[in-house]
Symmetry: C2
Subunit: 223 residues, 2 copies
DNA sequence: CAGAATGCTGAACAAGCGTTTAGTCTGTTG
DNA sequence: CAACAGACTAAACGCTTGTTCAGCATTCTG
């Protein structure tokens, strides 16, 4: 008993105030954006604003700590759901899991705010999509592309950006329930997305051919 | 001569300080976002911050005045380019015209910031796209959809959102040259977009059919 | 037990922001 | 010419925000 009480609570790494602040920050950042005041984060964690700075030094460092934590959490459970049935981003896939919604909301806000983490996130999304599409091409479920990397980047920008647009346009306050957003999103746009992705949008290839003729160094046909 | 000098300069509505402030605000908002300080706008217009408030009462009202002015300018010249050859948004189409780039940048920032004007802008984009696609369907260049309105909204969210993502991810400072952005965008993504829109992304319709089977009230086939 | 270290707080500081105030200058009007 | 109205400004106010400071407990250490 004496040995149990003696050891500092640093080890368990959770339940400590530092962890409470970090979790509160992740929630606040995710729901209200990265410019949420430090005071609000402190209030949510049930501590004083000064303690937040005491533990993390700076709001920017707090944000970095949140990034680290979320990134680690995601990476640990990511491998399970990578090879799944649709091309949606990891962000989409995990957002519906009750437990991960706050983390997804946080990452989404990072993407929205730009900066280095946003670029990293975007690049990883694009890489994931490219890998997944490549697997699909080899399996015969996805059409080959003249420029697979560009296609993956275009799809990444479209997926993430459209979701960004969707959230930005919501009226009621800046508070966001990410699961609800994803649910509404799929309810509204699953059909047109599948339609265009399955059947295309244009009736013929004239515009594509015109473009291929126009570019100086046309990529070869994927046959 | 005396009658010419007597009339106040309010009539010509330009060259007056009020107009200079408005134009400076449009430029600043467009290049640096809607949260640019009033002081910076004033500096750019060559006046004191107090004069900005003196003329417009409030930063919010200044923004509203900018919205009004840009909206009117766009509406006046919009009819010319509505029926054009690709499905891109009005935003895309006009952004390449040297003269309109600042206004496009401003509207883009409004879209980015959310709020009522963003919703209006988005709805108008979606309506434009829907009308254009409908014309294409009747002309036989665009495939019909099971839900044309949803498809138009999806394309609007994708176009605007992807551009939003593209701008957000740019490293160097928040200053944005909108024409350059559009040029880079098309250089990078014209091919994959045309590819997917012309040939589709998925090799077969199995996912679409699965979805159509899944929804309780499946929309009818467009034949 | 003295003392150092750690967790934590209330209060204040400093900077950036939108806005107000009081007043100056200029040109027009009676 | 006196009076006034409008354009315009310097300075300051009030607010929010990130951060610092000085001090209070509590707990560990020698």
């Amino acid at each position: 008993m004496s040995s149990a009480t003696r050891k500092p609570p640093d080890r368990e790494e959770d339940l400590t105030a530092r962890a409470r602040i970090r979790d509160a920050a992740i929630d606040c950042f995710g729901q209200r954006g990265l410019n949420v005041p430090v005071r609000d984060i402190a209030e949510r964690a049930g501590v004083s604003p000064a303690l937040v700075i005491h533990h993390f030094g700076t709001k920017a460092k707090l944000l970095a700590a949140c990034e680290d934590h979320v990134t680690r959490l995601i990476r640990e459970t990511k491998t399970a759901s990578v090879t799944d049935r649709d091309h949606r981003t990891v962000l989409h896939q995990m957002a519906e899991a009750e437990e991960f919604a706050p983390y997804m909301a946080f990452l989404f806000r990072c993407l929205q705010a730009g900066g280095d983490l946003a670029r990293t996130l975007y690049e990883r999304m694009a890489a994931d999509i490219e890998a997944y599409l490549d697997a699909g091409v080899r399996a015969g479920t996805v059409r080959p592309s003249r420029d697979p990397r560009a296609r993956a980047h275009w799809l990444a920008a479209n997926s993430a950006g459209a979701l960004l647009m969707f959230v930005t346009l919501r009226e009621p306050g800046p508070d966001v329930d990410f699961r609800k957003v994803i649910r509404e999103w799929t309810a509204e746009f699953a059909l047109p997305a599948l339609e265009v992705y399955s059947e295309g949008l244009l009736a013929d290839r004239s515009m594509l051919d015109a473009y291929l003729l126009y570019v100086s160094d046309p990529p070869e046909e994927p046959s």
